[in-house]
Symmetry: C2
Subunit: 404 residues, 2 copies
């Protein structure tokens, strides 16, 4: 398996585009994205567990209930959520795109992201679709990735190639997500494409399994979005024998998918609103995997831990505190904590109590922009990793006046 260029266009038969159509005021910012497969693709999707759901999710769920899709349309600047006419607008987006692409309107995945509770005007989208479709290219994954960004400061894109049944397959994805990030079952907006031939049932299984240890282990601010969605389209153009059961080929596919999703998780966490640092929390020795996940996520979600990391302050007491209130089954007298970055690693807590350490070296480690918090427990063999970011002045600034 190797990392390759091309994002969602890396896999055979996928084209993309992104344009500014006028939903956002700033004309420099793209606000409409399209991903198109030249043939119908087996499609799997997972959605937010928030009871307040964006209208596009409801429409998408219905559209792909037969297991197929051929295109994804996604706008930024408006979430089309909590609007009286939300469903109608989302359906119109599918109808208009279906006509322009000459595909069934039911083969469209529709998504929206941005402010909640403001009616979404169909006009700029309707006017933009011809240019969006005409500009489709196998070289425009980046334009699509730009089209779905909101407060994201960095484009999030990845692709890998792998071999199944002697055929080279490719899988790639784009993501948006910076604030309102605390996935539960599904997360943010992530669109993944592959040319690997895999049945819808196995594709859904791969996705639903993978997100438990990837997107569901990311948190920027503890707020689970109304519009979270991850969709994978597999058009089978790599020509391999279809993966339709568990086994070696499915494992290979899972590994490739996981490489893509972990990369996007790290990119999302590291680009959390206002963030200056990516935090990775690795827990091992937990009673079981579930307890390891609970602890890793509790640490990564703690405002106090996040603020300390912003200040490069080795305040490990807050990590113990977050372990203690996590609800996990844990012996707090067997906790070891260390901080690690490319500058090195330093142990700050052993058997639940502080140890002498060099504050200078700790500071040097924590001044880096990718920090790993390592927690070793004495309860069993459970392990998990969670991703988050520091809490900064800029998070507050960005969210103090988001709508204007």
């Amino acid at each position: 398996m190797k990392i390759i260029a091309g994002g969602v266009c890396a896999a055979k038969g996928f084209l993309a585009n992104g344009i500014h159509c006028g939903i956002r005021k700033n004309k420099e910012k793209k606000d409409l994205a399209l991903i198109y497969s030249q043939s119908r693709a087996n499609t799997a999707s997972v959605y937010t567990t928030n009871k307040v759901k964006g209208a596009p999710l409801t429409v998408t769920k219905s559209n792909i209930s037969d297991g197929y899709a051929q295109a994804v349309i996604c706008n930024s600047g408006n979430a089309n959520t909590c609007n009286a006419n939300g469903i109608e607008i989302a359906e119109q987006m599918c109808t208009l795109l279906g006509k322009a692409l000459k595909i069934d309107e039911k083969d469209v995945v529709v998504a929206s992201t941005g402010v909640i509770g403001q009616p979404l005007d169909i006009t700029p989208i309707e006017n933009g679709i011809p240019a969006l479709v005409n500009g489709l290219s196998s070289d425009a994954s980046q334009s699509a990735a730009e089209g779905i960004m909101t407060t994201d400061t960095r484009l999030k894109e990845i692709a890998v190639s792998f071999v199944v049944d002697g055929k080279e397959c490719r899988i790639g994805g784009i993501a948006k997500g910076s604030g309102m990030i605390h996935p539960n079952m599904a997360t943010m907006l992530v669109f993944i494409t592959t040319d690997c031939k895999i049945s819808t049932r196995m594709l859904q299984k791969a996705l639903s399994t993978d997100i438990q240890s990837t997107f569901n282990m990311v948190s920027v601010d503890g707020d689970t979005s109304t519009n979270d969605m991850v969709t994978v389209m597999a058009n089978g153009q790599a020509g391999n024998k279809e993966i339709d059961s568990e086994g070696e080929d499915f494992d290979t596919f899972m590994k490739a998918l996981n490489t893509v999703t972990v990369d996007l998780c790290r990119k999302i966490a590291g680009d959390g609103e206002g963030a200056t640092k990516l935090l990775e929390c690795e827990v091992c020795g937990a009673y079981d995997e579930q307890n390891a996940k609970t602890i890793a996520k509790s640490i990564i979600c703690s405002s106090l831990v996040k603020s300390a990391m912003f200040g490069s302050d080795a305040n490990w007491g807050r990590i113990l505190c977050a372990i203690g209130y996590s609800g996990a089954d844990v012996d707090v007298n067997k906790v070891f904590v260390s901080f690690k970055s490319q500058k090195g690693e330093i142990s700050v807590c052993e058997n639940g109590a502080g140890v002498e350490f060099s504050e200078e070296f700790a500071k040097e480690i924590l001044l880096e922009n990718e920090i790993t918090i390592k927690v070793k427990l004495g309860d069993g063999n459970g392990q998990a990793t969670a991703w988050g970011c520091d809490l900064t002045y800029d998070y507050v600034k960005i969210n103090g006046d988001y709508r204007t």
Copy 2:
């Protein structure tokens, strides 16, 4: 019932004091507090549910297991938590104070607050106890309240008088709490005194019931402290017939206790680390009380709602979002939201969708420093109130470098 002066010294037979003994570097800041009852008092207490517990809590729990206490000693500047010799130090504090006051060392409630995981030196406490005891006065509740403050910017004190069995009774309390505030079963440090005669069993019942709708409904940052504790001492000096069962007198006592605890909750939330605003979230029409509580607390804990309130931005979509991911049983199509302050009230969402409203008037309402977020649901008769504060640059600043 009326509000009176005197704090923890308002009730008959209670004296207090607070001094700087040298735990904190800043000599202007008091760091050791004492509350003393001239007779043994029936005592009830609730503690944090964090599995990492401060050593003083363990010692206090053992000391008051017989239902009695006569004094409270509390230091700030160091939490005496996650230290190898924590229990020993907490016991020494009780022994030294017991000797100085000539009371049983087992009648001492001991508490500590401040940084976690740094050994607490007994020397300044030992040297300070004589002055602490000599300065005891019926006029020094404020000194004691100052002695327990950490990042608090305002002193938190209240007292009320009420009548039971024809006798005037008094109840008063002091509190500290500004960060690491997300109580679960107990919270922060709160010391309450009353001269009302009430059995330990009924006192514990009153306290355990009351905190469910008061301290457990406060959140500053989602982090449940390791050292949370609320203690009530009742020395019976008001001379009323002892309250030893449910009934009218118990109800009167509950109401007086609730007046004290709600006032302290509002003071704690309004003085949350870095806060510029007190947020009060009132939920009505929920399926039941538990669902109302879950929703109110989810809103008050949302970093996105808190940041919007800091920016006086009527971004109600985030309130719907927090309702949706709260896990509560709720029909999201029957949600009404309005913002209220002393400038007036404005409706922003009806039946789960936005309504037209004046952004100027909304801004005017939200620029005040006490904001009520009112949520009306269509599911039943459950109601609840939660208290929190806005998320500001200063929260990040305070917690980015807390230990230095």
